[in-house]
């Protein structure tokens, strides 16, 4: 005996409008906030905090980011170096500056020092940069959380 289907074969249709709206809102949120530039970040560095930390009003001209770890290791881009061996890397930057008709005086050295790094290491690094003609330094800190 053949049994007939009693239910309707029409597909159940859910209203997807609200869900699509929400998902698009989420995508826009994440797209706006995403930051692909990883050159000024380093997970090994825990920056000291300051209540006066405010992001600069304008981007720094020709920034050179140096991460100073507690064990005196310096990360410059993908290079791992130290105060004693950083000069060739900085000279490469100077050549790049020269190709753009700029001098080391125009560049900004951004120092991202770990909070437990000996201050003398940072001083040594600044001195080494000064010897190569760099003048402008920015000590990077993170905003102090008061909650």
């Amino acid at each position: 005996m053949r049994i007939r289907k009693t239910f309707d074969t029409k597909m159940a249709e859910g209203d997807l409008t609200a869900m699509i709206d929400m998902v698009f809102q989420l995508i826009i949120f994440f797209m706006v906030l995403i930051n692909f530039s990883q050159d000024d970040q380093n997970d090994k560095i825990k920056l000291p905090s300051s209540e006066l930390a405010k992001p600069p009003d304008a981007p720094l001209t020709f920034p050179i980011v140096l991460h100073v770890a507690p064990n005196a290791v310096i990360y410059m881009g993908t290079n791992v170096t130290s105060v004693e061996t950083i000069a060739p890397l900085l000279r490469t930057e100077i050549q790049l500056l020269a190709s753009r008709n700029q001098t080391p005086k125009d560049a900004n050295i951004i120092i991202r020092g770990d909070q437990s790094t000996p201050g003398g290491i940072v001083q040594d690094l600044i001195k080494k940069c000064q010897e190569l003609g760099f003048e402008k330094f920015a000590l990077r800190v993170r905003e102090e959380q008061n909650f």
Binding site: V23, P48, S49, S50, D114, K127, E135, K136, A138
Partner: protein, 158 residues
Amino acid sequence: MKFESKRGAEKAELQLTSMIDVIFLLLIFFVMTFKIAAQEGDFSVKMPIGGAGPSDSPNIPIKLRLRANEAGELADMIVNDSLSFGNDWTKLRAFILERTGGNAPPSPDEGPEVEIDLDYNLRYENVIRAVTAVTGQRQGDEVKRLVERIKFAPPRKP
């Protein structure tokens, strides 16, 4: 005169499945790559090669000496070789406020200059605290600048 629509009452159906698949993939990508980072700021230090002169240079109005203990923590702050503030940052800020009259320098290249002379092993966070205490103070959401010109004395090698 009323025209009757000849079209059927059937709704036009869009195939949303593939679009939703792609949208969810994008959403997962953005969620996974999203990283919450604390806001960062800079303290600008302009130091030409001749700028970091000897600590006893007569042109430097405020000399801040930071002494560290063996663990690298701040042991004492001495201003102009005479005033000792221990490790009380509020006293240092009060001194700077008194010295500057609470007024911001007219331009970043003017106003009083502070030379920070620190022990080699002093933890960097203490250096930043000193720079913070000297540079200015926060009033609500505003930052009031007191000293723009900061430089470091030559390093004291152990």
